[in-house]
Symmetry: C2
Subunit: 410 residues, 2 copies
């Protein structure tokens, strides 16, 4: 059933999720309610389209395909805020020169177990894939591989890279820093990114456990949805430029854009009463590994395209940093035993007592994987407004827009 609406056509981020599904860590379409998602696409078609657009903008074939895979996996898993709705932003970065497809990334190996990649402002997904592959190769040798990445760009969903390690039967971490949106406890100024942590471990009969979470209480997309719907936010999501609770999403977003003070709260909220200092600590931990240790930008310097103090030869660029760790769990016990233990844990959770007003207990990664399985069969739904933006991009890039599943079947 198509809802009536006139979406603002833009190539910028549009947070929109599949209706009729509960969402683990992003915004639900039911909350936004502005557009239908009647158009579904085969994963391959979306990947080919996305890769084609990136190639038309100068990305080598392999890089275009990698980036497309990461973006479309987000849509497939229902995290469309990190999916192909981002394509417009990436093209903007390529046009402005701070995302450089095809650039040569330099890899250092300080020890057999450690790696450092300088992404030289290339595509974040390309750097991320290369880094996790390196971490996995190192973990195959020494049992654990740690790889940091500097001078990178937005790398999409943190969980994508963990999935790669899971395919090798490994446990893994993936983290990234990001543009400052989050307030430190007692502060009134956004210094920290939403700095996500992803962690995964393989199971046997059950789906692998895959935690993938921003360390902020909500993502920025949630504020955007509330703003579009002219809704007041609950107390505990954001503060104004004085550090006081703020419920007007438009004001917070405007302040963030202008770096005028205020921002989103860390997981746990404004004060220590509900553990806000813990979310702040997690965001700081992620940035210490991704920004400080990697040699990239950190804190309020991430994604700062207006810096004037850059050393000669450095370009104005987001300078995002990532951190990857792959752990060869088979060195700790036989793979089958480890996997059965993860199964047992999942079963313990799934069979435990449910709250009277709830239907079931979810295990991390479960919702996303169920969705991906459904979408693999029935196609990936893309929101109308995203689709409109993609058609504009297709025209501008002289690339054929993706055909819907319905068109394909005719």
């Amino acid at each position: 059933m198509k809802r009536q609406h006139t979406p603002k056509i833009t190539t910028d981020l549009i947070s929109c999720e599949s209706p009729n599904t509960e969402l683990m860590h992003e915004v639900m379409c039911a909350q936004c309610g502005r557009c239908g998602r009647d158009n579904k696409f085969l994963r391959e078609d979306l990947e080919m389209f996305t890769a084609g657009v990136l190639e038309a903008h100068g990305a080598p074939r392999e890089e275009a395909l990698t980036t497309a895979r990461v973006l479309v996996q987000a849509d497939s898993r229902g995290i469309s805020s990190h999916g192909i709705a981002r394509l417009g932003r990436y093209l903007k970065g390529i046009e402005a020169g701070y995302i450089r497809p095809g650039v040569e990334m330099r890899t250092f190996s300080p020890t057999e177990a450690l790696g450092v990649i300088d992404a030289h402002h290339g595509l974040g997904q390309v750097a991320g894939e290369q880094a996790m592959e390196l971490a996995i190769a190192k973990a195959k040798k020494t049992g654990v591989g740690v790889v940091t990445v500097r001078n990178s760009n937005h790398y999409g969903i943190a969980g994508y890279y963990v999935q790669k390690a899971l395919e090798h039967g490994m446990a893994a971490f993936s983290m990234t820093n990001s543009a400052p949106l989050v307030i430190p406890t007692n502060g009134a100024e956004a210094l920290l990114g939403t700095n996500p942590i992803a962690f995964g471990i393989p199971a046997d009969k059950q789906r692998p456990v895959l935690v993938d979470m921003a360390t902020s209480v909500v993502p920025r997309g949630k504020l955007e949805v509330y703003d579009r719907n002219r809704q007041q936010m609950p107390v505990g999501w954001a503060v104004d430029e004085f550090g006081y609770d703020a419920q007007n999403p438009g004001r917070i977003l405007q302040n963030l854009l202008e770096r005028a003070g205020g921002g989103i709260l860390p997981l746990g909220g404004r004060t220590e009463e509900f553990g806000g200092h813990k979310g702040y600590g997690l965001a700081l931990m992620v940035d210490m590994l991704c920004g400080v240790l990697s040699g990239s930008a950190f804190g309020s310097d991430v994604n700062n395209l207006n810096r004037t103090d850059l050393p000669q030869g450095e370009i104005q660029a987001p300078r995002v940093g990532h951190f990857f760790l792959a752990l060869d769990v088979e060195r700790f016990m036989p793979a089958s035993e480890l996997r059965s233990r993860v199964d047992a844990y999942v079963e313990m959770l799934k069979s435990s007592k449910v709250a009277l007003d709830r239907e079931m207990i979810f295990v991390h990664g479960e919702k996303e994987q169920v969705r991906a399985e459904l979408h693999e069969k029935d196609g990936i739904p893309i929101a109308d407004n995203v689709l409109n933006a993609l058609r504009q991009i297709a025209e501008k890039s002289k690339v054929k827009p993706p055909v819907t599943l319905a068109q394909r079947q005719h």
Copy 2:
């Protein structure tokens, strides 16, 4: 100024913190308000007393000293819920036979970078110290060391072990699982521990950054204080056996004791609105590394002394598991550069805009370290009720009670 009160004399945990200090992650004495802390002690005196008591209960000298160091460091840092107030519990464990001082712990080294320790139900602090030292030694060789511990006991403050790595100029993680007190999102039954994460990285002129946080919204100690004060808890800390918000701390504590359902909420609270699923994910991540991967107990099996399904030869024991990771940051860049970058981050935070109703922004580890520095000079304050319990222990163990600083100076 001594407050009038008749503390319940017990050797069990007493959560009590120094007055006049803000506390990063535990309970403040000002909230409890039941006892004075006029008695201060030299760190060495508390360590010698604690070690003496443990020796009198059969612990070898070295093990007794290690355990004493970890417990007293907690008091020194102001985290007295994890300090020598725990001594009574440890003695109970030794008497009951599930804490086995002097037991031989077995160490495996699957690779140069990985280690596994079977603590064979020995003292948690002894296993923890040994494991972190192994991780550091491995990190010196390969740049990173990962060590898991199984069949251990309560290991005290997670941050102690990270401090050890900081002394070697390394960054580190320390995590442990713990008895089930925490509800998974949508659940009505405590399956997860408060499963803390500690992370640290060294600085130069600034104090090292040291995050040390339970993944629950509050520690159990906070409920105990509210119960003692007959205070109603705020909504968002705990749920009853139906999974509904509960504000009666006594009822929740009773339910937890009887494993009757309900419990403490994960960081982020009861629902996904404020990110409760994220705290749940973090607790699960910690247990996957500490319980599942180590080969120890996990989920509701941790600390379960009433199991009837144990394989032959295994004893009824808490079977707590830990996870340690040491990272030789100097392999990534010169130590001086890394440390200056951490300094710069701390300075960025400390100089950023403070909320109008707050006084300053704290960086993780700062409050605890300031307190430890003060206590090193002026003595460590011990709450009257803890002191009474310690005097009972001293008498029973035929060990001289510690002399106060005032007594020493006479």
